[in-house]
Subunit: 398 residues, 2 copies
């Protein structure tokens, strides 16, 4: 039997990160490739305690079907939490519990895009979301990202010149892969463009709670009075990435379609993770925990940047993130990030992700690579950055 | 902001079952509408114990990202289990852990279907799968189901006369909604048609372990030597529906695409449920547990059928399932299952699912309704069937 793969899937490559993840499973490899929070930041004891308590008190509830929108007490608790903590989620919005924030992209694209429609993205952007959009055969239009966020003039040009723009996808806080944060001015300007051209914004905010320098900047959603913003939130980076539990906050008008899409996708999010999140929100201290994590992340990011400052050739530039998980390093144009990443894992057993992975235009060469600072320990950061510096010089970067 | 819903989603209605589920949340309502296993059949104590043990031993592993294909030890354990228990899963197949068997339909449709392609289904069939196919804008072609499974002549006609048939979707064991089991002869014939016309089979087998009368019939997958069958399996009906954990067994050729689709959909299935299933497979007795459940299900189904035999008007026919969760009742043509279901919940606070819900052609009238016998207790079955009988006579069914 020869299977014929659908047009939308036949050219899609596996995410390079997921593939590199396999190398990284080799204990001899130092990985700067992942996107996990710092293992030492996870509230393991709390989670263990809450899970036991939940299964003690509500075993059958945990094991039977629930509603596609999410377990009602968790939905209520999340709404309360995000209203208090982030000032989002009013009367005009509905909230759904999803199987990780990635699923928001899946449901939103299914509900808003026909094949051939355009989705506008920061370029570079998160490969998981880009591939999700591609899997619906939409046309992706990339807009370059600058030190304070997306280029506004090129964004407006993209909106006006692209065919059937259905939404713009933005990661305003500590963007993946660049670590860049969008300024408050640009957030307001982007919202104004959204309103002017009736192009919704999908705001992906997985890293918002991971700020370790400076003050929080309000989310675009918190400034949205016109139902322009669909917001994807997650407790992944605070509680756990592995449990796969996030939420989607969307204007009431499109919510029924999103619920049907959720039914089609996986019926509802697993009850174990929903009840665990509920117990944590009711009995734990999510923001307090996030605040304590700041020191862990500040130290880890600071160490990596310090070592890069000391050892990297001067022509290599890199971002200095104020939060999140990633540093984005760029070699001079003549050098190839994919070659660098390949030689680094092959010759030095250190993993980074080549910049081309995140290009909106597939196959586009990139002289950048992404470094994760949250996962490795101090010794690994030292050895790994030393290897990077050595390879950069070997390749002739000066 | 006025949102425009995509062509594929704009006409999709929420699953009537999911909607009725909301009525059923009212404790005063007796529900014959759900699709949960018998609550008393769930291995609550085992699951509680295994979950605690898992979080004791592997807390960090449970909380970090894993591979899209599934947690490797669980994949290995499931392969071993299905080889031993069902004789499926050889060298030519790959196995993926998915977020419930529903997700198999999502991933397979994404990978195999372009918009407008045809998927052939038993008619009636499971609304969750039908809606999933519809959410990819495929054209559904229904083939009537008979007492021993799908009508073969009409199946062949559908294959030869429909445009771009990409797969046929079959639930051979205790089909949802009819409770019908496909005979071994028909399984062989269907496989022969699949081979003759190079049309793959998606075999959905959520209820296979819930047989309480007679001998198991080999799955179509177990007879497949040509990579024709994609098999969707689940522990939902034995361990838990609420945890959302199933598996997909597919020919190696299409597996890479399915993995990419999984990355796009939700990155990977949650680790809590994966580790729980792993612990159960390693330390529990899945088949032993399933065998013990047989008595529970046989009693429950037997009681409902006995009461229907005693009280239903003679013109109402119904299936006598040998396993699974559902009985399918059919009134004479002149009567409407939707009217019956509506009046039943409104006037008698008893929920059944109208047959039209499962029609492959949306909006098609049906004189049938689906009854679930696994969830209600004895008193509820008595009260509920009495209400059904009373309403049938009220409506003039004789």
């Amino acid at each position: 039997m020869d299977y014929i793969i659908s047009d939308k899937m036949k050219n899609l490559k596996p995410s390079a990160i997921r593939e590199i993840f396999k190398y990284a499973a080799d204990p001899a490899v130092i990985s700067f490739a992942g996107g996990n929070p710092a293992p030492e930041s996870l509230p393991v004891d709390d989670l263990r305690r809450f899970m036991s308590k939940t299964l003690e008190e509500n075993p059958v509830q945990a094991l039977l079907y629930s509603q596609s929108e999410g377990h009602p007490p968790l939905r209520a608790e999340v709404r309360r939490f995000i209203k208090d903590a982030y000032d989002i989620g009013g009367d005009k919005d509905e909230l759904m519990i999803v199987s990780g924030a990635q699923q928001c992209m899946d449901l939103v694209t299914r509900c808003l895009c026909n094949e051939g429609d355009t989705v506008i993205c920061e370029d570079p952007s998160f490969i998981g979301s880009l591939n999700c959009f591609r899997s619906y055969n939409v046309s992706l239009k990339g807009v370059p990202i600058e030190d304070d966020g997306i280029n506004l003039a090129l964004l407006e040009k993209a909106i006006t010149e692209s065919r059937n723009v259905r939404f713009m996808y933005l990661i305003p806080n500590f963007q993946n892969p660049t670590g860049i944060t969008m300024s408050i001015q640009k957030r307001k300007a982007v919202l104004a463009l959204s309103k002017k051209y009736s192009v919704p914004i999908v705001e992906d905010n997985p890293y918002g709670d991971l700020r370790f320098i400076g003050e929080d900047i309000p989310s675009i959603k918190s400034m949205d009075e016109d139902g322009l913003v669909i917001y994807a939130g997650s407790f992944s980076k605070i509680l756990s990435t592995g449990i796969r539990c996030g939420y989607l906050l969307a204007p009431a008008q499109i919510f029924p379609s999103l619920v049907v899409a959720k039914q089609c996708a996986d019926v509802h999010t697993g009850m174990l993770q929903q009840l665990l999140c509920l117990a944590f929100l009711q009995n734990g201290d999510l923001l307090g925990h996030a605040r304590m994590n700041k020191f862990v992340y500040a130290d880890k990011c600071g160490l990596m940047l310090k070592l890069m400052d000391e050892s990297f050739p001067k022509s290599v530039t890199y971002t200095r993130p104020k939060g999140g998980l990633f540093i984005w390093a760029t070699m001079p144009d003549a050098f190839d990030g994919a070659e660098f990443a390949l030689r680094l894992v092959r010759d030095y057993k250190v993993c980074v992700v080549p910049g081309s992975t995140f290009s909106v235009n597939e196959g586009e060469r990139s002289s950048s690579f992404r470094l994760n600072f949250s996962m490795p320990n101090e010794a690994q950061v030292k050895t790994g950055i030393e290897a990077c510096a050595k390879l950069l010089r070997e390749m002739g970067v000066s």
